[in-house]
Amino acid sequence: MTQAVLDLKELRVYRGGVQVLDIPSFSLQENEFLSLIGPNGAGKSTLLLAIMGLVKRQSGSLHYRGEQVRSDARWLEIRRKMAMVLQEPLLFDTTVYDNVASGLRIRGFARSELRNRVMGYLERFNLADMAQRSARKLSGGEARRVSLARAFAVEPELIFFDEPFANLDPPTRQSLTEDMDRIIRENGIAAVLVTHDQSEALRMSNRIVVMNDGAIVQSGPPAEVMNRPVNEFVANFVGMETILEAVVLRNERQHVTLSVGGQEIDTVGEVAGEEVYCCIRPENVTVSVGTSNGQTSARNVYRARILDIASMGPFLKLRLDCGFVLTSYVTRESFAELALYEGKEVCASFKATSVHLIPKRASLVQAGI
Protein backbone atom coordinates (compact mmCIF):
# COMPACT_ATOMS: atom_id res chain seq x y z
CA MET A 1 0.00 0.00 0.00
CA THR A 2 1.98 2.94 -1.24
CA GLN A 3 0.37 5.23 -3.79
CA ALA A 4 -3.12 6.64 -3.22
CA VAL A 5 -5.42 5.58 -6.07
CA LEU A 6 -7.82 8.30 -5.14
CA ASP A 7 -7.72 11.19 -2.78
CA LEU A 8 -10.83 13.17 -1.93
CA LYS A 9 -10.68 16.52 -0.15
CA GLU A 10 -13.30 18.80 1.42
CA LEU A 11 -16.26 16.93 -0.06
CA ARG A 12 -19.64 18.39 0.77
CA VAL A 13 -22.95 17.22 -0.65
CA TYR A 14 -26.34 18.75 0.07
CA ARG A 15 -29.74 17.24 -0.68
CA GLY A 16 -32.87 19.37 -0.40
CA GLY A 17 -30.87 22.05 1.42
CA VAL A 18 -29.62 19.56 4.02
CA GLN A 19 -25.96 18.58 4.22
CA VAL A 20 -25.75 14.82 3.71
CA LEU A 21 -21.99 14.47 3.33
CA ASP A 22 -19.11 16.36 4.91
CA ILE A 23 -15.82 14.57 4.33
CA PRO A 24 -12.68 16.66 4.91
CA SER A 25 -10.43 13.89 3.59
CA PHE A 26 -10.78 10.37 2.20
CA SER A 27 -8.23 8.32 0.33
CA LEU A 28 -7.87 4.82 -1.01
CA GLN A 29 -4.55 3.08 -1.52
CA GLU A 30 -3.43 0.67 -4.24
CA ASN A 31 -4.74 -2.88 -3.57
CA GLU A 32 -6.57 -1.72 -0.46
CA PHE A 33 -9.84 -3.37 0.57
CA LEU A 34 -11.85 -0.89 2.58
CA SER A 35 -15.17 -1.52 4.29
CA LEU A 36 -17.59 1.31 4.93
CA ILE A 37 -19.90 0.66 7.85
CA GLY A 38 -22.47 2.80 9.57
CA PRO A 39 -26.21 3.03 10.18
CA ASN A 40 -28.75 3.60 7.39
CA GLY A 41 -28.61 7.18 6.14
CA ALA A 42 -25.02 7.65 7.29
CA GLY A 43 -23.97 8.68 3.76
CA LYS A 44 -22.07 5.55 2.73
CA SER A 45 -23.76 5.11 -0.67
CA THR A 46 -23.66 8.86 -1.30
CA LEU A 47 -19.91 8.81 -0.71
CA LEU A 48 -19.46 6.10 -3.36
CA LEU A 49 -21.65 8.03 -5.82
CA ALA A 50 -19.70 11.22 -5.11
CA ILE A 51 -16.41 9.45 -5.85
CA MET A 52 -17.88 8.31 -9.19
CA GLY A 53 -19.08 11.83 -9.91
CA LEU A 54 -22.73 10.75 -9.92
CA VAL A 55 -24.07 13.20 -7.34
CA LYS A 56 -23.87 16.96 -7.36
CA ARG A 57 -21.13 18.20 -5.04
CA GLN A 58 -21.24 21.60 -3.36
CA SER A 59 -17.50 21.43 -2.89
CA GLY A 60 -14.67 18.96 -3.04
CA SER A 61 -11.79 17.88 -5.19
CA LEU A 62 -10.82 14.42 -6.39
CA HIS A 63 -7.27 13.44 -7.24
CA TYR A 64 -7.01 10.21 -9.20
CA ARG A 65 -3.49 8.79 -9.06
CA GLY A 66 -2.22 12.23 -8.20
CA GLU A 67 -4.05 14.07 -11.00
CA GLN A 68 -6.89 16.40 -10.08
CA VAL A 69 -10.09 15.62 -11.98
CA ARG A 70 -11.52 18.90 -13.23
CA SER A 71 -13.70 18.53 -16.34
CA ASP A 72 -16.84 16.42 -16.84
CA ALA A 73 -15.08 14.63 -19.69
CA ARG A 74 -12.24 13.64 -17.35
CA TRP A 75 -14.78 12.50 -14.71
CA LEU A 76 -16.26 10.19 -17.37
CA GLU A 77 -12.80 8.81 -18.22
CA ILE A 78 -12.06 8.22 -14.54
CA ARG A 79 -15.50 6.65 -14.03
CA ARG A 80 -14.61 4.19 -16.78
CA LYS A 81 -11.66 3.05 -14.67
CA MET A 82 -14.11 2.18 -11.89
CA ALA A 83 -17.03 -0.19 -11.49
CA MET A 84 -19.90 -0.37 -9.07
CA VAL A 85 -22.17 -3.17 -7.90
CA LEU A 86 -25.38 -1.87 -6.37
CA GLN A 87 -27.68 -3.51 -3.82
CA GLU A 88 -30.09 -4.64 -6.57
CA PRO A 89 -28.58 -6.57 -9.51
CA LEU A 90 -30.35 -4.22 -11.99
CA LEU A 91 -29.73 -6.47 -14.97
CA PHE A 92 -30.79 -5.47 -18.46
CA ASP A 93 -33.72 -7.23 -20.12
CA THR A 94 -31.51 -9.33 -22.38
CA THR A 95 -29.23 -12.36 -22.15
CA VAL A 96 -26.64 -13.01 -19.45
CA TYR A 97 -23.93 -12.63 -22.15
CA ASP A 98 -25.20 -9.20 -23.21
CA ASN A 99 -25.41 -8.08 -19.61
CA VAL A 100 -21.79 -8.98 -18.94
CA ALA A 101 -20.85 -7.32 -22.24
CA SER A 102 -22.71 -4.06 -21.53
CA GLY A 103 -19.88 -2.16 -19.85
CA LEU A 104 -17.48 -3.19 -22.62
CA ARG A 105 -19.91 -2.10 -25.36
CA ILE A 106 -20.21 1.28 -23.64
CA ARG A 107 -16.41 1.53 -23.86
CA GLY A 108 -16.49 0.64 -27.57
CA PHE A 109 -14.66 -2.69 -27.40
CA ALA A 110 -14.13 -4.46 -30.73
CA ARG A 111 -16.32 -7.54 -31.21
CA SER A 112 -13.62 -10.24 -30.94
CA GLU A 113 -11.91 -8.70 -27.92
CA LEU A 114 -15.29 -8.20 -26.29
CA ARG A 115 -16.25 -11.82 -26.88
CA ASN A 116 -13.02 -13.14 -25.38
CA ARG A 117 -13.30 -10.89 -22.35
CA VAL A 118 -16.97 -11.72 -21.73
CA MET A 119 -16.45 -15.47 -22.12
CA GLY A 120 -13.48 -15.27 -19.76
CA TYR A 121 -15.54 -13.61 -17.01
CA LEU A 122 -18.52 -15.90 -17.60
CA GLU A 123 -16.13 -18.81 -16.96
CA ARG A 124 -14.60 -17.18 -13.87
CA PHE A 125 -18.05 -16.69 -12.35
CA ASN A 126 -19.35 -20.13 -13.42
CA LEU A 127 -21.91 -18.54 -15.75
CA ALA A 128 -20.72 -19.92 -19.10
CA ASP A 129 -23.53 -22.47 -19.38
CA MET A 130 -26.21 -19.82 -18.93
CA ALA A 131 -24.72 -17.22 -21.32
CA GLN A 132 -27.78 -17.22 -23.60
CA ARG A 133 -30.37 -17.34 -20.85
CA SER A 134 -32.62 -14.37 -20.17
CA ALA A 135 -31.32 -12.33 -17.25
CA ARG A 136 -34.93 -11.95 -16.12
CA LYS A 137 -35.24 -15.66 -15.46
CA LEU A 138 -32.32 -16.01 -13.05
CA SER A 139 -32.55 -16.71 -9.35
CA GLY A 140 -31.50 -13.97 -6.90
CA GLY A 141 -28.05 -15.53 -6.41
CA GLU A 142 -27.48 -16.03 -10.16
CA ALA A 143 -28.52 -12.44 -10.87
CA ARG A 144 -26.03 -11.11 -8.28
CA ARG A 145 -23.35 -13.31 -9.84
CA VAL A 146 -24.09 -11.77 -13.28
CA SER A 147 -23.95 -8.26 -11.83
CA LEU A 148 -20.54 -9.09 -10.32
CA ALA A 149 -19.29 -10.48 -13.65
CA ARG A 150 -20.58 -7.35 -15.44
CA ALA A 151 -18.65 -5.10 -13.05
CA PHE A 152 -15.42 -7.13 -13.14
CA ALA A 153 -15.54 -7.59 -16.95
CA VAL A 154 -14.53 -3.95 -17.51
CA GLU A 155 -11.39 -4.75 -15.47
CA PRO A 156 -11.62 -1.67 -13.29
CA GLU A 157 -8.74 -0.25 -11.27
CA LEU A 158 -11.17 0.42 -8.46
CA ILE A 159 -14.42 -1.31 -7.61
CA PHE A 160 -17.27 -0.33 -5.29
CA PHE A 161 -19.82 -2.65 -3.73
CA ASP A 162 -22.92 -1.12 -2.19
CA GLU A 163 -24.35 -3.91 -0.03
CA PRO A 164 -24.21 -6.25 -3.01
CA PHE A 165 -25.43 -9.38 -1.25
CA ALA A 166 -28.22 -8.02 0.93
CA ASN A 167 -31.24 -10.31 1.31
CA LEU A 168 -29.44 -13.43 0.12
CA ASP A 169 -29.39 -16.73 2.00
CA PRO A 170 -26.13 -17.34 3.92
CA PRO A 171 -24.66 -20.10 1.64
CA THR A 172 -25.26 -18.03 -1.54
CA ARG A 173 -23.88 -14.96 0.18
CA GLN A 174 -20.78 -16.83 1.28
CA SER A 175 -20.17 -18.30 -2.17
CA LEU A 176 -20.51 -14.89 -3.86
CA THR A 177 -18.32 -13.20 -1.25
CA GLU A 178 -15.62 -15.80 -1.85
CA ASP A 179 -15.80 -15.27 -5.64
CA MET A 180 -15.67 -11.51 -5.19
CA ASP A 181 -12.72 -11.70 -2.80
CA ARG A 182 -10.82 -14.14 -5.03
CA ILE A 183 -11.14 -12.03 -8.18
CA ILE A 184 -10.28 -8.79 -6.38
CA ARG A 185 -7.06 -10.41 -5.17
CA GLU A 186 -6.33 -12.05 -8.54
CA ASN A 187 -6.80 -8.75 -10.37
CA GLY A 188 -5.01 -6.72 -7.68
CA ILE A 189 -7.52 -3.90 -7.55
CA ALA A 190 -8.63 -1.53 -4.82
CA ALA A 191 -12.14 -2.07 -3.47
CA VAL A 192 -14.66 -0.38 -1.23
CA LEU A 193 -17.44 -2.44 0.33
CA VAL A 194 -20.49 -0.91 1.96
CA THR A 195 -21.83 -3.51 4.36
CA HIS A 196 -23.94 -3.99 7.45
CA ASP A 197 -22.25 -7.31 8.13
CA GLN A 198 -19.39 -6.48 10.50
CA SER A 199 -17.95 -9.99 10.40
CA GLU A 200 -17.70 -9.63 6.60
CA ALA A 201 -15.95 -6.27 7.05
CA LEU A 202 -13.57 -7.78 9.60
CA ARG A 203 -12.77 -10.78 7.44
CA MET A 204 -12.17 -9.01 4.14
CA SER A 205 -10.86 -5.52 4.84
CA ASN A 206 -7.49 -3.93 5.35
CA ARG A 207 -9.28 -0.91 6.75
CA ILE A 208 -12.71 -0.12 8.17
CA VAL A 209 -14.28 3.32 7.95
CA VAL A 210 -17.22 4.07 10.23
CA MET A 211 -19.64 6.75 9.04
CA ASN A 212 -22.44 8.56 10.82
CA ASP A 213 -24.53 11.59 9.82
CA GLY A 214 -22.56 12.13 6.61
CA ALA A 215 -19.18 12.18 8.33
CA ILE A 216 -16.34 9.75 8.87
CA VAL A 217 -16.23 8.99 12.58
CA GLN A 218 -13.35 6.52 12.65
CA SER A 219 -10.98 4.96 10.16
CA GLY A 220 -8.42 2.30 10.90
CA PRO A 221 -7.42 -1.36 10.75
CA PRO A 222 -10.35 -3.71 11.56
CA ALA A 223 -8.98 -4.80 14.94
CA GLU A 224 -8.45 -1.22 16.01
CA VAL A 225 -11.96 -0.09 15.02
CA MET A 226 -13.58 -3.11 16.66
CA ASN A 227 -11.56 -3.03 19.88
CA ARG A 228 -10.63 0.62 20.27
CA PRO A 229 -13.63 2.69 19.16
CA VAL A 230 -13.02 6.42 19.35
CA ASN A 231 -16.38 7.31 20.82
CA GLU A 232 -19.60 5.97 22.27
CA PHE A 233 -21.34 5.88 18.87
CA VAL A 234 -18.66 3.68 17.28
CA ALA A 235 -18.49 1.53 20.42
CA ASN A 236 -22.23 0.95 20.19
CA PHE A 237 -22.14 0.37 16.45
CA VAL A 238 -19.32 -2.17 16.49
CA GLY A 239 -21.03 -4.24 19.16
CA MET A 240 -19.43 -3.10 22.40
CA GLU A 241 -22.46 -4.28 24.32
CA THR A 242 -21.23 -2.90 27.63
CA ILE A 243 -20.58 0.83 27.66
CA LEU A 244 -20.42 2.23 31.18
CA GLU A 245 -20.05 5.77 32.40
CA ALA A 246 -17.15 5.63 34.84
CA VAL A 247 -15.06 7.89 37.04
CA VAL A 248 -11.27 7.50 37.18
CA LEU A 249 -10.22 6.72 40.76
CA ARG A 250 -6.51 6.08 40.14
CA ASN A 251 -4.43 6.60 37.05
CA GLU A 252 -0.79 5.66 37.46
CA ARG A 253 1.85 3.82 35.43
CA GLN A 254 -0.48 2.48 32.75
CA HIS A 255 -2.84 1.18 35.39
CA VAL A 256 -6.24 2.81 35.64
CA THR A 257 -8.83 2.01 38.28
CA LEU A 258 -12.41 3.08 37.65
CA SER A 259 -15.46 3.40 39.81
CA VAL A 260 -18.74 2.19 38.29
CA GLY A 261 -21.94 1.62 40.25
CA GLY A 262 -20.09 1.19 43.49
CA GLN A 263 -17.67 -1.35 42.01
CA GLU A 264 -14.09 -0.94 40.88
CA ILE A 265 -12.80 -1.94 37.46
CA ASP A 266 -9.11 -2.41 36.74
CA THR A 267 -7.84 -1.52 33.29
CA VAL A 268 -4.53 -0.88 31.59
CA GLY A 269 -3.49 1.94 29.30
CA GLU A 270 -3.66 5.70 29.43
CA VAL A 271 -6.62 7.97 29.69
CA ALA A 272 -7.01 11.70 30.01
CA GLY A 273 -9.69 13.26 32.16
CA GLU A 274 -11.78 12.20 35.12
CA GLU A 275 -14.83 10.82 33.34
CA VAL A 276 -14.67 8.05 30.79
CA TYR A 277 -16.72 5.51 28.93
CA CYS A 278 -15.65 2.01 29.84
CA CYS A 279 -16.28 -0.39 26.94
CA ILE A 280 -16.22 -4.19 27.18
CA ARG A 281 -16.98 -6.58 24.33
CA PRO A 282 -19.43 -9.34 25.39
CA GLU A 283 -17.18 -12.09 24.05
CA ASN A 284 -14.49 -10.97 26.53
CA VAL A 285 -16.70 -11.56 29.56
CA THR A 286 -16.47 -15.04 31.10
CA VAL A 287 -19.28 -16.52 33.18
CA SER A 288 -18.67 -19.26 35.73
CA VAL A 289 -20.62 -20.80 38.58
CA GLY A 290 -19.39 -21.30 42.13
CA THR A 291 -17.12 -18.96 44.08
CA SER A 292 -15.07 -16.11 42.68
CA ASN A 293 -11.98 -17.38 44.49
CA GLY A 294 -10.89 -19.75 41.69
CA GLN A 295 -7.55 -19.31 39.99
CA THR A 296 -7.82 -16.76 37.16
CA SER A 297 -5.65 -14.13 35.56
CA ALA A 298 -8.65 -11.84 35.10
CA ARG A 299 -8.27 -8.68 37.18
CA ASN A 300 -11.98 -8.04 37.30
CA VAL A 301 -14.12 -10.69 38.99
CA TYR A 302 -17.64 -9.99 40.29
CA ARG A 303 -20.55 -11.79 41.86
CA ALA A 304 -23.44 -11.28 39.45
CA ARG A 305 -27.08 -12.19 38.95
CA ILE A 306 -28.47 -13.07 35.52
CA LEU A 307 -31.02 -10.38 34.63
CA ASP A 308 -32.19 -11.81 31.32
CA ILE A 309 -31.23 -14.24 28.57
CA ALA A 310 -31.69 -13.70 24.82
CA SER A 311 -31.03 -16.13 22.00
CA MET A 312 -28.50 -14.95 19.38
CA GLY A 313 -28.38 -17.96 17.04
CA PRO A 314 -25.45 -20.22 18.02
CA PHE A 315 -24.96 -18.45 21.37
CA LEU A 316 -26.93 -16.72 24.09
CA LYS A 317 -26.66 -13.18 25.34
CA LEU A 318 -26.74 -12.75 29.12
CA ARG A 319 -27.27 -9.46 30.91
CA LEU A 320 -25.65 -9.59 34.30
CA ASP A 321 -26.10 -7.35 37.31
CA CYS A 322 -22.82 -6.92 39.15
CA GLY A 323 -23.49 -3.47 40.55
CA PHE A 324 -23.36 -2.31 36.95
CA VAL A 325 -24.90 -4.10 33.97
CA LEU A 326 -22.50 -6.30 32.05
CA THR A 327 -23.26 -8.25 28.87
CA SER A 328 -21.76 -11.61 28.06
CA TYR A 329 -22.09 -14.14 25.24
CA VAL A 330 -22.05 -17.85 26.10
CA THR A 331 -22.37 -20.81 23.75
CA ARG A 332 -25.42 -23.05 24.03
CA GLU A 333 -23.14 -25.86 25.26
CA SER A 334 -21.76 -23.72 28.12
CA PHE A 335 -25.26 -22.50 28.92
CA ALA A 336 -26.45 -26.11 29.31
CA GLU A 337 -23.37 -27.30 31.24
CA LEU A 338 -23.57 -24.39 33.71
CA ALA A 339 -27.37 -24.82 34.02
CA LEU A 340 -27.92 -21.09 33.74
CA TYR A 341 -31.30 -19.44 34.21
CA GLU A 342 -32.64 -15.95 34.87
CA GLY A 343 -31.99 -14.89 38.47
CA LYS A 344 -29.14 -17.38 39.00
CA GLU A 345 -26.10 -16.15 40.92
CA VAL A 346 -22.91 -16.51 38.88
CA CYS A 347 -19.40 -15.18 38.71
CA ALA A 348 -18.50 -12.75 35.89
CA SER A 349 -14.92 -11.89 35.00
CA PHE A 350 -12.93 -10.05 32.36
CA LYS A 351 -9.31 -9.05 31.95
CA ALA A 352 -8.00 -5.55 32.52
CA THR A 353 -6.60 -5.60 28.96
CA SER A 354 -10.04 -6.25 27.44
CA VAL A 355 -11.41 -2.94 28.68
CA HIS A 356 -11.33 0.00 26.28
CA LEU A 357 -11.60 3.51 27.68
CA ILE A 358 -12.95 6.52 25.81
CA PRO A 359 -12.55 9.94 27.46
CA LYS A 360 -16.00 11.48 27.70
CA ARG A 361 -14.93 14.65 25.94
CA ALA A 362 -13.98 12.64 22.81
CA SER A 363 -17.61 11.70 22.40
CA LEU A 364 -18.68 15.26 23.00
CA VAL A 365 -16.22 16.52 20.36
CA GLN A 366 -17.42 13.91 17.85
CA ALA A 367 -21.02 14.88 18.52
CA GLY A 368 -20.10 18.48 17.76
CA ILE A 369 -21.00 19.69 21.25
Binding site: L54, L76, R79, R80, L90, T95
Partner: protein, 232 residues
Protein backbone atom coordinates in the same frame (compact mmCIF):
# COMPACT_ATOMS: atom_id res chain seq x y z
CA UNK B 1 -77.33 -10.96 -41.14
CA UNK B 2 -77.43 -11.34 -44.93
CA UNK B 3 -76.10 -7.81 -45.21
CA UNK B 4 -73.04 -8.66 -43.10
CA UNK B 5 -72.38 -11.91 -44.94
CA UNK B 6 -72.80 -10.15 -48.28
CA UNK B 7 -70.35 -7.48 -47.09
CA UNK B 8 -67.75 -10.08 -46.06
CA UNK B 9 -68.10 -11.88 -49.40
CA UNK B 10 -67.77 -8.55 -51.22
CA UNK B 11 -64.67 -7.70 -49.14
CA UNK B 12 -63.13 -11.05 -50.05
CA UNK B 13 -63.93 -10.44 -53.75
CA UNK B 14 -62.43 -6.94 -53.66
CA UNK B 15 -59.30 -8.24 -51.98
CA UNK B 16 -58.67 -11.26 -54.21
CA UNK B 17 -59.47 -9.33 -57.37
CA UNK B 18 -57.05 -6.56 -56.30
CA UNK B 19 -59.73 -3.96 -57.07
CA UNK B 20 -57.64 -0.94 -58.13
CA UNK B 21 -59.76 1.64 -56.30
CA UNK B 22 -59.87 -0.34 -53.07
CA UNK B 23 -56.17 -1.11 -53.32
CA UNK B 24 -55.43 2.60 -53.85
CA UNK B 25 -57.53 3.55 -50.83
CA UNK B 26 -55.93 0.85 -48.68
CA UNK B 27 -52.41 1.79 -49.77
CA UNK B 28 -53.06 5.48 -49.03
CA UNK B 29 -54.46 4.54 -45.59
CA UNK B 30 -51.32 2.57 -44.80
CA UNK B 31 -49.03 5.33 -46.13
CA UNK B 32 -50.75 8.17 -44.27
CA UNK B 33 -51.17 6.31 -40.97
CA UNK B 34 -47.71 4.70 -41.21
CA UNK B 35 -46.01 8.05 -41.79
CA UNK B 36 -48.07 9.71 -39.05
CA UNK B 37 -47.12 6.91 -36.61
CA UNK B 38 -43.46 7.20 -37.56
CA UNK B 39 -43.55 10.96 -37.01
CA UNK B 40 -45.33 10.54 -33.68
CA UNK B 41 -42.73 7.95 -32.61
CA UNK B 42 -39.87 10.36 -33.28
CA UNK B 43 -41.56 13.23 -31.45
CA UNK B 44 -43.36 11.18 -28.77
CA UNK B 45 -40.43 8.99 -27.71
CA UNK B 46 -37.91 11.84 -27.59
CA UNK B 47 -40.15 14.28 -25.71
CA UNK B 48 -41.61 11.52 -23.51
CA UNK B 49 -38.11 10.39 -22.55
CA UNK B 50 -37.10 13.97 -21.81
CA UNK B 51 -40.14 14.53 -19.59
CA UNK B 52 -39.63 11.20 -17.80
CA UNK B 53 -35.92 11.69 -17.14
CA UNK B 54 -35.88 15.31 -16.07
CA UNK B 55 -37.27 17.07 -13.05
CA UNK B 56 -38.83 20.48 -13.51
CA UNK B 57 -41.53 22.59 -11.89
CA UNK B 58 -44.98 21.72 -13.26
CA UNK B 59 -43.95 18.25 -14.42
CA UNK B 60 -47.15 16.73 -13.02
CA UNK B 61 -49.23 19.24 -14.97
CA UNK B 62 -47.31 18.42 -18.18
CA UNK B 63 -47.86 14.68 -17.63
CA UNK B 64 -51.57 15.28 -16.95
CA UNK B 65 -51.86 17.33 -20.16
CA UNK B 66 -50.14 14.53 -22.11
CA UNK B 67 -52.43 11.92 -20.55
CA UNK B 68 -55.45 14.03 -21.48
CA UNK B 69 -54.03 14.29 -25.00
CA UNK B 70 -54.05 10.50 -25.24
CA UNK B 71 -57.81 10.72 -25.61
CA UNK B 72 -57.82 13.75 -27.91
CA UNK B 73 -61.03 13.72 -30.04
CA UNK B 74 -60.02 13.48 -33.73
CA UNK B 75 -62.64 16.06 -34.77
CA UNK B 76 -61.09 18.61 -32.42
CA UNK B 77 -57.67 17.89 -33.94
CA UNK B 78 -59.23 18.11 -37.41
CA UNK B 79 -60.77 21.47 -36.56
CA UNK B 80 -57.54 23.03 -35.29
CA UNK B 81 -55.36 21.58 -38.06
CA UNK B 82 -57.91 22.91 -40.57
CA UNK B 83 -57.78 26.38 -38.99
CA UNK B 84 -53.97 26.37 -39.10
CA UNK B 85 -53.84 25.16 -42.71
CA UNK B 86 -56.82 27.24 -43.95
CA UNK B 87 -55.97 29.59 -46.79
CA UNK B 88 -55.94 32.57 -44.40
CA UNK B 89 -54.58 30.57 -41.45
CA UNK B 90 -51.08 30.83 -39.96
CA UNK B 91 -49.81 27.98 -42.16
CA UNK B 92 -52.10 28.64 -45.12
CA UNK B 93 -49.14 29.59 -47.34
CA UNK B 94 -48.07 25.94 -47.31
CA UNK B 95 -51.27 25.05 -49.25
CA UNK B 96 -51.52 21.69 -47.53
CA UNK B 97 -55.25 21.58 -46.74
CA UNK B 98 -57.05 18.71 -48.50
CA UNK B 99 -53.77 16.90 -49.21
CA UNK B 100 -52.43 13.62 -47.80
CA UNK B 101 -49.74 15.70 -46.03
CA UNK B 102 -52.46 17.49 -44.03
CA UNK B 103 -53.85 14.09 -43.04
CA UNK B 104 -50.38 12.97 -41.91
CA UNK B 105 -50.08 16.13 -39.79
CA UNK B 106 -53.51 15.69 -38.20
CA UNK B 107 -52.94 11.99 -37.48
CA UNK B 108 -49.51 12.77 -36.00
CA UNK B 109 -51.15 15.25 -33.64
CA UNK B 110 -53.54 12.48 -32.56
CA UNK B 111 -50.85 9.78 -32.15
CA UNK B 112 -48.06 11.85 -30.56
CA UNK B 113 -49.66 12.21 -27.08
CA UNK B 114 -50.47 8.48 -27.13
CA UNK B 115 -46.83 7.56 -27.86
CA UNK B 116 -45.54 10.24 -25.48
CA UNK B 117 -47.82 9.15 -22.63
CA UNK B 118 -46.87 5.49 -23.04
CA UNK B 119 -43.17 6.48 -23.24
CA UNK B 120 -43.38 8.49 -19.99
CA UNK B 121 -45.11 5.57 -18.25
CA UNK B 122 -42.62 3.04 -19.62
CA UNK B 123 -39.60 5.12 -18.58
CA UNK B 124 -40.99 5.81 -15.13
CA UNK B 125 -41.69 2.13 -14.60
CA UNK B 126 -38.04 1.16 -15.14
CA UNK B 127 -36.27 0.24 -11.86
CA UNK B 128 -35.28 3.31 -9.88
CA UNK B 129 -31.57 2.50 -9.74
CA UNK B 130 -31.20 1.58 -13.41
CA UNK B 131 -30.12 5.07 -14.52
CA UNK B 132 -27.46 5.10 -11.83
CA UNK B 133 -26.30 1.61 -12.77
CA UNK B 134 -25.96 2.56 -16.46
CA UNK B 135 -24.00 5.72 -15.59
CA UNK B 136 -21.83 3.71 -13.19
CA UNK B 137 -21.03 1.41 -16.10
CA UNK B 138 -19.44 4.45 -17.73
CA UNK B 139 -22.22 5.50 -20.12
CA UNK B 140 -22.43 8.98 -21.61
CA UNK B 141 -25.79 10.81 -21.45
CA UNK B 142 -26.59 9.72 -25.01
CA UNK B 143 -25.72 6.10 -24.23
CA UNK B 144 -27.86 6.34 -21.09
CA UNK B 145 -30.95 7.50 -23.01
CA UNK B 146 -30.44 4.87 -25.72
CA UNK B 147 -30.04 2.07 -23.15
CA UNK B 148 -33.14 3.19 -21.26
CA UNK B 149 -35.17 3.25 -24.49
CA UNK B 150 -33.92 -0.27 -25.23
CA UNK B 151 -34.93 -1.40 -21.73
CA UNK B 152 -38.41 0.07 -22.24
CA UNK B 153 -38.77 -1.32 -25.78
CA UNK B 154 -41.60 -3.71 -25.01
CA UNK B 155 -43.99 -1.13 -23.55
CA UNK B 156 -42.84 1.25 -26.29
CA UNK B 157 -43.94 -1.34 -28.84
CA UNK B 158 -47.36 -1.12 -27.22
CA UNK B 159 -47.11 2.61 -27.87
CA UNK B 160 -46.50 1.93 -31.58
CA UNK B 161 -49.54 -0.35 -31.70
CA UNK B 162 -51.75 2.09 -29.81
CA UNK B 163 -50.57 5.01 -31.95
CA UNK B 164 -51.08 3.20 -35.25
CA UNK B 165 -54.39 1.72 -34.11
CA UNK B 166 -55.56 5.17 -33.07
CA UNK B 167 -54.81 6.88 -36.37
CA UNK B 168 -55.72 4.22 -38.93
CA UNK B 169 -59.16 3.95 -37.41
CA UNK B 170 -59.90 7.66 -36.96
CA UNK B 171 -62.19 9.39 -39.44
CA UNK B 172 -63.05 12.87 -38.13
CA UNK B 173 -59.69 14.54 -38.65
CA UNK B 174 -59.00 12.79 -41.98
CA UNK B 175 -62.29 13.88 -43.48
CA UNK B 176 -61.90 17.47 -42.22
CA UNK B 177 -58.33 18.07 -43.40
CA UNK B 178 -58.27 15.61 -46.31
CA UNK B 179 -61.73 16.18 -47.73
CA UNK B 180 -62.19 12.56 -48.90
CA UNK B 181 -61.14 13.43 -52.45
CA UNK B 182 -61.43 10.37 -54.68
CA UNK B 183 -58.06 8.95 -55.72
CA UNK B 184 -56.21 11.57 -53.68
CA UNK B 185 -57.20 11.76 -50.00
CA UNK B 186 -59.78 9.00 -49.72
CA UNK B 187 -58.76 6.46 -47.07
CA UNK B 188 -60.51 3.36 -45.71
CA UNK B 189 -62.34 5.19 -42.89
CA UNK B 190 -63.53 8.16 -44.93
CA UNK B 191 -64.61 5.86 -47.76
CA UNK B 192 -66.55 3.70 -45.27
CA UNK B 193 -68.39 6.76 -43.93
CA UNK B 194 -69.21 7.87 -47.47
CA UNK B 195 -70.47 4.46 -48.63
CA UNK B 196 -72.58 4.10 -45.47
CA UNK B 197 -74.09 7.51 -46.17
CA UNK B 198 -74.94 6.40 -49.68
CA UNK B 199 -76.57 3.22 -48.34
CA UNK B 200 -73.91 0.96 -49.96
CA UNK B 201 -73.62 -1.17 -46.85
CA UNK B 202 -71.94 -4.08 -48.64
CA UNK B 203 -69.05 -1.92 -49.81
CA UNK B 204 -68.90 -0.18 -46.41
CA UNK B 205 -68.67 -3.55 -44.67
CA UNK B 206 -66.08 -4.69 -47.21
CA UNK B 207 -63.94 -1.63 -46.47
CA UNK B 208 -64.37 -2.16 -42.71
CA UNK B 209 -63.28 -5.78 -43.00
CA UNK B 210 -60.19 -4.68 -44.97
CA UNK B 211 -59.49 -2.06 -42.26
CA UNK B 212 -59.80 -4.65 -39.51
CA UNK B 213 -57.61 -7.04 -41.49
CA UNK B 214 -54.87 -4.39 -41.80
CA UNK B 215 -55.09 -3.56 -38.10
CA UNK B 216 -54.79 -7.23 -37.24
CA UNK B 217 -51.83 -7.88 -39.59
CA UNK B 218 -49.88 -4.83 -38.36
CA UNK B 219 -50.52 -5.65 -34.71
CA UNK B 220 -49.74 -9.32 -35.27
CA UNK B 221 -46.38 -8.41 -36.83
CA UNK B 222 -45.56 -6.05 -33.97
CA UNK B 223 -46.58 -8.70 -31.43
CA UNK B 224 -44.29 -11.20 -33.17
CA UNK B 225 -41.39 -8.74 -32.89
CA UNK B 226 -42.29 -8.08 -29.25
CA UNK B 227 -42.34 -11.79 -28.39
CA UNK B 228 -39.17 -12.59 -30.36
CA UNK B 229 -37.26 -9.87 -28.50
CA UNK B 230 -37.30 -11.74 -25.19
CA UNK B 231 -34.51 -14.29 -24.82
CA UNK B 232 -35.55 -17.71 -23.50
Amino acid sequence: MDLILQGIVEAFRLLVSFDPEVMGIAWLSLKVSGLATLLSLVIGISTGTLVALTTFPGKKIVVSVVNTGMGLPPVVVGLFVSIFLWRNGPLGFLELLYTPAAMVIAQSVIATPIVMGITIGAMQNLPAGLRLQILALGATRTQLVWMLIKEARLPLMAGVMAGFGGVISEVGASIMVGGNVQGYTRVLTTATVMETGRGNFDIAIALSVILLFFCFVINYLLTLIQQRERPR
